[in-house]
Subunit: 363 residues, 2 copies
């Protein structure tokens, strides 16, 4: 018997690389850029970028903030690093020191860039085609001088509904993008699609696809079986195994009451480790037994450091064994659904837990 | 006009210290321990522990994991650091090197401690009184030898419903704790209450109160006005100000459609920064104008890096100004409620964003 206390987060870089290579085949005519913003969705941007640079020959990376670009620069020495949130007073110095390329989304940001020109890299322009988020609107494109237009080295936009194959917005945005790009930037390399759009076929892929979520194993084309391999596993040790007498309550605010005698285990992980509190009384943990995978329902509230689960029907649960929260059969997408959110948000949280043990599988 | 891109998270250590001193007055006969687990709920355990040690004379700290204890040891050189999740093979070395004291919650963990005795500090025993989470059950206490009982230096338990003044569980757990403590550990210093229990009055306070959430400004006694000062502020720069034509959609999956022409701003923060995606179409951002604080409703989905909000009725919103997500009038408790969770989970997420700018107010 062991006694253990810390959760383990495992990243399979081999599967991540395989996902990158699979996606490349889906978009054979485009350059496959890797999106490693938000610390590679929590996995660790430097680790992920290094793997894709070295073994995947990836030479274009996207981050959200310049500080994220600075972190990966040492491991991708001659790659292009685009910064999606763009450039401002609070990030200018990093564009110089780390040779970052801003994505410019507004006339104000363009003016700032012109005044401060941090390096000789040509920025990318983001144009708005229907998401109504960041990007030049058509009236702003119209106001650009011929000189202004020549500042840019590439043009991009972003889909709102790329994960829904038949959503009318996809064609609508494709038409908008094609029209605006041809009108204002006919000679520039173009990028419309993230992972989801990449699955919509060649006409959505243009010159650069921006691969993020799918790299990490998320199904960004949920209308069909996931073609990506799972990349992360999460498990935590059982601290205690106890009877739960009939009529007893479990957890904060006493939200679960045992209608019959149960057996419970207390597992050393909680929302402080990124597991959503929304899984309270809803989520499940898994105990492998040979080829069988037993489910243990979460009882009561998920607390900051602990989860209590029902192991009444699971043979021989013992202190020190690991209960699985994410595995190849209950993935980020499954847990996201159970928690009432998306796997993107979930992964971004779980990866950021500084007290976990990090296991990296590299081959 | 400025162009800015990064969110700013501000921690007011002066208010945090004031909260500690206020709580001390509420429990004048108990020792006031500070709970800085989960990186001080995301604020940064070393920063918080140092302040409370130096200016608050705090000499007892609680963390969840030994790795968290190790991080604060340098700033609280002679304090007691209790580790709530206890000790195991994956943390043993840290108990030696950082002089940590385990909280022991099970016979298995006690056996492990006896075999490996990492230092000469007397562990605390956690006994279960109704939460049905970690802790010795009565049958396990009964099985302890007289020698075993003498191992411990203090005894604790934890309330399930301390934030509900009249909940029957409070008296139930108080009775259980008093009975078990008197029976098995009559001479040991005792601790039953976290912040919430501290507000339940002297009989719940015993010898040590464990102050966590309330230190950080959370109202742990929500049946009355918050007596704590707000400790955190969160703001993010406006990247763009744009018209939203009637009939247009906003954000992923097109979940918002403008029934009339609106004015929107795109703000540089998202769930990658810890803002819950559950605030999609529900939450709000704030724009101060003189003494007035204007509310801007979040439109569409919160995305990883951006939030879009409705500024139609707010005078002169400009690129580069900061929109407030948390301030003295819309606190963690308010945002937690809007996001369908509790402020504890929210704070734990927001604090862990590595790409924010951190501002510390110290006096």
């Amino acid at each position: 018997m062991s006694v253990l206390t810390r959760p383990i987060f495992e990243i399979n870089l081999k599967n991540l690389l395989d996902n990158y290579l699979t996606l490349k085949k889906i978009a054979p005519h485009a350059q496959a850029a890797a999106v490693v913003k938000d610390d590679a969705y929590g996995l660790g941007a430097a680790i992920v970028a290094k793997k894709l640079y070295q073994d995947g020959k990836c030479r274009i990376f996207f981050v959200a903030h310049a500080v994220e670009g600075e972190k990966i620069r040492p491991v991708v020495p001659d790659a292009d690093i685009y910064v999606l949130q763009g450039i401002g007073e609070d990030s200018l110095a990093l564009f110089k020191s780390a040779h970052l390329t801003p994505v410019i989304s507004s006339p104000q940001m363009l003016a700032f860039w012109k005044e401060n020109k941090p390096n000789h890299l040509k920025p990318m322009i983001n144009i708005e085609t229907g998401l109504n988020r960041l990007g030049f609107r058509e009236y702003e494109l119209e106001a650009l001088s011929t000189e202004d237009r020549q500042i840019f080295g590439a043009v991009m936009s972003h889909l709102a509904c790329g994960d829904e194959k038949d959503h009318f917005m996809n064609q609508h945005q494709l038409d908008n993008f094609t029209r605006l790009k041809d009108k204002y930037f006919p000679h520039l390399p173009a990028s419309l699609s993230a992972s989801d759009g990449t699955f919509l076929g060649e006409k959505f892929q243009f010159d650069i696809v921006r691969l993020g979520a799918a790299l990490y194993g998320i199904n960004t084309a949920p209308y069909r079986q996931n073609q990506m391999k799972p990349v992360v596993t999460l498990k935590a040790p059982v601290l205690q195994v106890e009877p739960l007498p009939k009529g007893e309550f479990v957890g904060y605010s006493a939200t679960y009451r045992a209608a019959s005698e149960r057996k419970i285990s207390i597992v050393s992980i909680g929302y402080g480790d990124g597991v959503p509190r929304a899984l309270s009384n809803v989520g499940k943990l898994f105990f492998p037994r040979g080829k069988k995978l037993y489910e243990a329902r979460i009882l009561g509230r998920v607390s900051m450091d602990n989860i209590i689960c029902d192991i009444t029907d699971i043979p021989d649960v013992s202190v020190g064994e690991y209960a699985f929260l994410l595995n190849d059969f209950y993935t980020l997408d499954d847990m996201g659904r159970d928690a009432g959110t998306i796997s993107y948000e979930l992964l971004s949280r779980i990866g950021k837990n500084p007290r976990k043990i990090l296991n990296i599988i590299n081959s």
